[in-house]
């Protein structure tokens, strides 16, 4: 079974050529015509995936570019000298020029703003198309396109057209595949993941974006030209906003950054309404009742089908069908191979860390907690921890050790974050693993996160008055109240790092939590600010007796503040300062002894 899955994930793309050959050989003129349309739309969707999936530029411009391609093909094909191949070449070149023009606004506008530029362009191009059609009464039902002649043979609908389109798609597929696997693909991926980081490591982002624009626009415009030749007439009425959005839906449904996924998306979005229509016709001939109603409304239902597609996919398979499937298969294949890769049984040290001396049940109890992110990275690998009521515990460790993941695992994740959590997280004996941050917050667990710890757009006063509880805040931080009052009307985004941490801790304390979590309390703060923040937290702990878990990188700060300090490394916890032969344990112990000898 596992071998079959591995083979399927490797050679699943073969479905596409097999389906193509099957339709080609079937002799069914209707489905051959549909298959041709699917290929033309797939070319356009592949162009969009190039721009959106690879280079990370979102666009609603497929309708505009295809309209431009179709109208220019119609215009050119009326001339004697413009043969079918020459016209297609010229249309493709025009697409490249249009891509060049579109990259100009894209240099200034990001994300959704650029998408809206393409939306505006869509309406403008379609408007121009309408105006062109009004120049002659012969054009009102659509501008005619000359019959395509390829090397002396007239390309007829059916097998000849389909063969031509199939070969073209194959060539485009090979070109894209080799390009994505090589240098350009990696450059686009780098820009897509983090443009700023890509620029700092020397990726010339504007040039690569430009090339993605020119290439993808040429491809999309070519598909528009093909559509014109294929249908024989070009009408601006074809290129509605829904038509343009359809291509985004194809890419999202099938899966970005997957050629097979895009082909599947194009097929599904094009064929599903036709199949649905045929099915209802077959089922309901002459019937009344529900089936009759279905038959009478099939046209309307079909127009909304892709809306349902996109909602279902975004809600349940946010990365698209094919990547989700591939991920599932990969998980199966890896899972099957897992026994040899499972970590050794928990070491004595880490279980010892979880021991709680008193007989009273711990406030927070974590057992064998494992956390995996969507990309497969494992951040927690069997964490055990017990936290007594009223204890102040610090977890130290390096970047990437899993400290912040531990904090978030206690508060819970949103579904959209795609995190897998296994094991037990109990507060007062109630298992809360897998609850959303909002639900665990209502249970009295309050986290001061590492980043975004205050609402940057709200003033200090607004947050304390309307988000937290102002009286409780004053009680919680009497010594810091003066500082907060002095910045009352300033947006929290403008505070210094120390002030921000004080505000965040005050807000958290004003909720009177049962368990207060502070992530990277002193990270990035000046020594003076660290002193102030440490003092504020110690005051709070002494006065209210609240149970506190902090994450720190600074061992001195952690030792000075906490009742107990644990070391986190590679997703597991152990007491700090017990040399176990590993370099990190020894180093941590050394740091600990320096601290102790001070």
């Amino acid at each position: 079974m596992r071998q079959f899955l591995a083979l399927a994930s490797r050679f699943g793309w073969i479905v596409v050529p097999v389906a193509f050959v099957w339709v080609l050989a079937s002799g069914d003129r209707y489905w051959q015509f549909v298959a041709g349309l699917v290929i033309i739309y797939a070319l356009s969707a592949l162009g969009l995936d190039w721009l959106m999936g690879r280079a990370g530029i979102v666009s609603l411009g497929n309708g505009a570019l295809m309209a431009a391609g179709a109208f220019s093909a119609a215009y050119l094909s009326q001339f004697e000298w413009a043969s079918f191949p020459v016209t297609l070449l010229l249309v493709t070149a025009l697409g490249g020029v249009l891509g060049l023009l579109m990259s100009i606004p894209a240099a200034r506008l990001r994300g959704i703003y650029f998408a809206l530029v393409t939306l505006a362009l869509h309406f403008i191009v379609v408007f121009v198309g309408h105006q062109y059609q009004q120049t002659s009464t012969a054009f009102l039902g659509g501008v005619p396109v000359a019959d395509p002649v390829l090397f002396g043979y007239e390309l007829e609908l059916g097998v000849p057209w389909l063969l031509f389109l199939g070969v073209l798609l194959g060539v485009v597929w090979l070109l894209l595949h080799s390009m994505y696997a090589a240098h350009p693909g990696r450059m686009w991926l780098a820009i897509h993941e983090n443009e700023l980081a890509a620029r700092t490591i020397g990726v010339v982002a504007p040039r690569w974006k430009l090339s993605a624009f020119v290439g993808s626009s040429a491809l999309i415009t070519l598909s528009g030209g093909l559509l014109g030749f294929y249908t024989g007439r070009v009408s601006a009425d074809t290129f509605t906003l829904i038509f343009a959005i359809g291509f985004v839906v194809m890419v999202i449904v099938g899966g970005q950054r997957s050629v097979t996924g895009v082909l599947l998306g194009a097929t599904a979005v094009t064929v599903a309404p036709l199949l649905f229509g045929q099915l209802t016709r077959d089922l309901s001939s002459g019937q009344a009742g529900f089936l009759g109603w279905l038959r009478d409304n099939v046209f309307v239902l079909n127009s909304g089908l892709f809306g349902v597609f996109v909602l279902v996919v975004l809600l349940y398979l946010p990365r698209g069908v094919v990547p989700s499937l591939a991920e599932w298969v990969r998980a199966r294949v890896i899972h099957g191979a897992a026994p040899s890769a499972t970590p050794a049984p928990l070491s004595a040290a880490s279980t010892e860390a979880a021991e709680v001396e008193s007989g009273e049940p711990p406030l927070l109890e974590i057992r064998d907690l494992r956390l995996t992110y969507r990309n497969g990275a494992r951040a927690l690998d069997g964490v055990d921890l017990g936290l007594r009521r009223g204890e102040l515990l610090a977890v130290v460790g390096r970047n990437g050790a899993g400290k912040s993941s531990l904090m978030r695992a206690v508060t819970g994740f949103y579904r959209s974050e795609g995190v897998t959590l296994r094991g037990r997280v109990a507060v007062d004996g109630v298992d809360i693993a897998g609850r959303s941050p909002a639900r665990s917050a209502r249970l009295g667990i309050t986290l001061v996160p590492e980043r975004d710890k205050v609402f940057g757009g709200l003033t200090v006063g607004e947050q304390l008055r309307n988000v937290g509880d102002i009286d409780a805040a004053k009680d919680a931080m009497p010594n810091e109240w003066e500082l907060l009052e002095s910045r009352w009307n300033s947006p929290a985004g403008l505070l210094s790092g120390g002030e921000r941490q004080i505000l965040a801790m005050t807000m958290a304390a004003s909720l009177r939590p049962r368990l207060l979590l502070v992530d990277e309390m002193s990270l990035g703060l000046s020594p003076i600010a660290i002193d102030r923040v440490t003092r504020a937290l110690r005051d709070l702990h002494e006065r209210t007796g609240v149970t506190i878990l902090i994450v720190e990188q600074n061992v001195d700060v952690a030792r000075g503040l906490a009742d107990r300090v644990l070391l986190m490394e590679a997703g597991t916890l152990r007491p700090l300062g017990e040399p176990d032969g590993s370099p990190a344990g020894a180093a941590a112990a050394r740091e600990g002894s320096i601290d102790a000898s001070r």
């Binding site: 979102v58 606004p105 200034r108 506008l109 990001r110 994300g111 959704i112 703003y113 998408a115 809206l116 530029v117 939306l119 505006a120 362009l121 309406f123 403008i124 408007f127 309408h130 906003l241 829904i242 959005i245 985004v248 839906v249 999202i252 309307v300 239902l301 127009s303 909304g304 892709f306 809306g307 597609f309 996109v310 909602l311 975004l314 809600l315 946010p318 508060t411 949103y414 959209s416 941050p437 909002a438 917050a441 309050t446 986290l447 996160p449 975004d452 710890k453 609402f455 940057g456 757009g457 709200l458 607004e462 947050q463 008055r465 309307n466 988000v467 937290g468 807000m507 958290a508 909720l511």
Partner: protein, 292 residues
């Protein structure tokens, strides 16, 4: 000439008010949930149909309007609970595409229930002129549209700036994760924002349908143009939504006077392009919004 000026003035103020009402709905949803809702046009049509259904039960127009607005608000909140709750924390573009999907689903729903044919709503007001501006008659309906916009804008402005709920809405938009951690009921606040936004849009939809006709499709183009108005003003600013609406209505009315009716939509998008090229954050928007 004076008649043209009168047309320009009345057209700008009345159309601008309608855009502003929808635009405020856009802004309040964006400012509290970070969702750019392309289904606003569908909610306009939905408002019209709900109003029609309410008048058919014999309700007088004002009560029918209130009932339609309340029902649309409930449906908006329901949409959040059913779909968009699961997308809290998702990226912006998938959210936009999800609203486009929602728009087609709503449109199909309306077509199935009420059919695709064009309907005329029963007139709520007598259509004779109350007074004239430069020879251009102004009807009670025109006045109603302006009053609706003023009430909507003043109400929303008061809510967002002055109240605990308004601050919490802004907090949710700022960071839904931190809001959850700070025990703000993100779902309640977001559902309220959806409901409020859809209710405002539905009210504008009733006014739109009263001024022209009602069908599931036509208002959607108008809803998109209203979004262009919001962008011209600045995506996150109430004042911007109002000013942008007036600017756009002025440009469109002028274009229709000079070039003819078919130019109305395309001028809106040309204006949008010009603004985006020269001042991407809009006339009043805060530049930080560009960092999306």
């Amino acid at each position: 000439m004076t008649r043209d000026l009168g047309t320009l003035l009345v057209g700008t103020i009345v159309d601008g008010s309608l855009y502003a009402t929808i635009g405020v709905g856009f802004v309040i949803l964006f400012r509290s949930t970070g969702v750019i809702n392309f289904a606003q046009g569908a909610f306009m049509a939905l408002g019209g149909y709900l109003y029609l259904a309410a008048t058919q039960t014999g309700l007088p127009w004002l009560f029918a309007l209130l009932a339609a607005v309340a029902a649309a608000g409930a449906i908006g909140a329901g949409v959040y609970v059913l779909f968009f709750r699961r997308l809290v924390g998702a990226e912006l573009f998938p959210l936009v595409i999800a609203t486009l999907g929602l728009s087609t689903v709503l449109t199909v729903g309306m077509m199935l229930i009420w059919g695709p044919q064009i309907r005329t709503l029963p007139a709520a007001f007598e259509m004779r002129a109350l007074f004239t501006v430069g020879g251009m008659p102004v009807t009670a309906l025109d006045v109603f549209v302006v009053v609706l916009a003023v009430v909507a804008i003043a109400g929303v402005a008061g809510l967002v700036q002055g109240t605990r709920l308004g601050t919490r809405m802004r907090a949710v938009a700022d960071s839904s994760l931190l809001s959850g951690l700070m025990r703000i009921d993100v779902n309640k606040v977001s559902a309220l924002a959806w409901g409020l936004s859809c209710a405002l849009t539905a009210a504008a939809g009733v006014a739109f349908a009263l001024r022209s006709t009602l069908d599931p499709i036509t208002s959607q183009g108008f809803g998109l143009v209203a979004f262009a108005a919001v962008l011209i003003g600045g995506l996150d600013s109430l004042r911007g939504a109002v000013v942008g609406s007036l600017i756009l209505a002025f440009v469109q009315t002028s274009a229709v006077l000079v070039l003819g009716g078919s130019w109305a939509e395309v001028t809106a998008y040309v204006a949008l392009l010009l603004i985006l090229f020269t001042r991407p954050q809009g006339v009043f928007g805060s530049p930080s919004v560009v960092r999306l």
